[in-house]
Symmetry: C2
Subunit: 348 residues, 2 copies
DNA sequence: GCTCCGATAGAAAGCGCTTTCCATCACGGA
DNA sequence: TCCGTGATGGAAAGCGCTTTCTATCGGAGC
């Protein structure tokens, strides 16, 4: 029923071996023969059987991209960039067409491991993990073990936005400089004169949350300013909205709120407005990530720019093996403060 | 080097056949034997070889989800929903774990076909195409042919947000009622008293663009109001920003602008504000899709709500075969007008 | 007590490809 | 003229799993 390589071989009057060689192009085949084979492929509308090919060759052209939340543009932008870098690469087998697939873990460690196992099953060529991870030691160990096994089996492992868990070769890591970015942001607020700053943080126990919080605290400590209230929540507007109520309850005299990211900042702004507070007149608000919409917020959001697209491309190339990782495998991606309209001097 | 099923069999002192049966659970195996096998699997840390399994069984547990732009929350939300529906389904082979993978076509017909071929190679269990498509007849035909081939080979095909191209069984389609949604939206504007309405449309030649435009025009025609200027552009803020300048140039007395979607609307708002125009005092603005951020826009966006999450889940279930498609395979998803602060009565 | 049957488990034949040997063949050099 | 040699193409052995087809065994039925 389905056309197989043998059918093509018969039609082209060559052996299956030759057809395979034409298709994979890693062995000399006379031009005339090649053409005959290609014509047969065309005429029969032959499609390679991926599983069979992968089985025989012991690798597949699948590249897995794991993200915490596919509905969040933060990941969408990176994944998109990685996918296009992976798609256009292509010196590998099977004509170099790699199938970049993105898998949504929802931030759940279990799903992350499940996907990694599934990709291991498929003998994926590479795996890219995007976004911070949970800091639970048990999970960290399980993930590290799984990644080590993948790397050992020849799957390239790339981390993008999370610290490396294993010093393995075959593993590269890109980390955003969240600490410095957060620090600059809070310094900016301090320079404006803010002394009571609330923090609507991301989920507890996540690397990203901790790093940003550390940067924030470092800035406060350096300036000798007392830390304001901190509330943890998810990375969505709802969380920002809820956090704001809590923060204001804990310190009604806040003059600024730093949000875990831009989306959360949107929720913070909404909550402040509902209470009749002006931004930045009464309260300044800052985000993080510099997602596309943050420039269109009203007022436009002061935030920390992360080169998501560039990082995604780089991650994709590392996964393809097109580019080599830095020595040590760890690469720091700079974060840059972007001052816009949502932050200003506090009243008085 | 890698542990194979035979190794597990040897360790458990059973035949490979028995191990396979335990793993796939579709054949009676004595409890004691099963346990012995599972212990061996655990002890050896065995991971099934996906390609081998797929080859022998002639299907894989891959489900492809194709989206036009993964960085756009519109697709992110649907894909996320579909992926979770697919992940939790699971009566299939291999323990029912399906690997839902999302592929980013970037709206390019070529990439779409490439991905479809790649998925066909992998003998994917199902394919979900999300979002509108190009209306170029040549592309339409090529896609239809490819989808027919996939369906014929036993791959379930689900369209979500695009009209069906083939009346095949094995194929289901979910379509958003863009026409009605757009019509209601324009009717709303007309009721408010607007008579000069600009339209910042999506890319030309796309089904979604056309349907929304048709709804808009239908409302105008029914009210006997002359159509205002229309500008086509991409689905991003930049396009909305640029379109606004053009629309205003063509008719400086516009009192309302309808955008292709919420993201575009954000760009429209930004451009209007830059010109010192008040929203909705001077110009009303409306979006489409009701993405999460639109409620936080200032003023909050009047838009058309699309049940993206629900549609994604439904698409996922159709892909899994958990739910049956309606007779005829076509299902209409309702779109609902949501009036917020960005639209109001025109001055005077 | 013997046959028949349900419940289990093993043997073995592939699934469709890749790849390692080999076999050819046409030349150029000695 | 004969042989070494590079360029091609074929034969065949798997890759690791699934799945028929059989074989075995302990009762139940007569």
């Amino acid at each position: 029923m389905t056309v197989t390589l043998a059918d093509v071989a018969a039609r082209a009057r060559v052996s299956p071996a030759t057809v395979s060689r034409v298709l994979n192009g890693n062995y000399p085949v006379a031009a005339s023969t090649r053409e005959r084979v290609l014509r047969a492929v065309d005429e029969l509308d032959y499609v390679l059987n991926g599983p069979a090919s992968s089985l025989a060759a012991a690798t597949s052209d699948l590249v897995g991209v794991l993200v915490n939340d596919i509905a969040d543009p933060f990941f969408g932008i990176m994944a998109s960039a990685a996918q296009s870098a992976i798609g256009e690469g292509g010196s590998g087998r099977g004509g170099g067409e790699k199938l970049a697939v993105v898998c949504n873990t929802g931030g759940s460690p279990e799903r992350e491991l499940t996907y990694l196992t599934l990709l291991q099953r498929q003998r994926a060529a590479a795996v890219v993990l995007m976004g911070g991870s949970l800091e639970d030691p048990e999970h960290l160990a399980a993930t590290a073990a799984k990644l080590a096994k993948l790397a050992e089996a020849g799957t390239r492992v790339v981390l993008c936005g999370r610290p490396p868990v294993t010093g393995d070769a075959n593993t590269a890591a890109l980390v955003f400089d969240n600490r410095t970015g957060a620090r600059r942001l809070t310094e900016h607020l301090l320079e404006l004169g803010h002394r009571r700053i609330g923090y609507a943080a991301g989920p507890a126990d996540r690397t990203t949350t901790r790093h940003r919080l550390e940067g924030h605290r470092a800035a406060l400590a350096a300036a000798g300013v007392e830390e304001g209230p901190t509330v943890h929540g998810a990375y969505d507007r709802q969380a920002g909205h809820a956090a704001t109520a809590e923060l204001l309850a804990r310190d009604p005299d806040l003059t600024a709120v730093v949000a875990a990211n831009d989306t959360v900042a949107l929720g913070v702004c909404a909550a402040l407005r509902e209470r009749g507070l002006d931004i930045p007149g009464d309260v300044s608000v800052a985000g993080f990530d510099d997602l596309p919409f943050s420039i269109d917020a009203v007022p436009s959001l002061t935030t920390v720019h992360l080169p998501l697209h560039e990082a995604g491309v780089r991650a994709g190339r590392l996964a393809m093996g097109t580019e080599e990782p830095r020595t040590g495998g760890l690469e720091r991606v700079p974060a840059e403060l972007v001052v816009r309209g949502s932050t200003g001097r506090p009243r008085g």
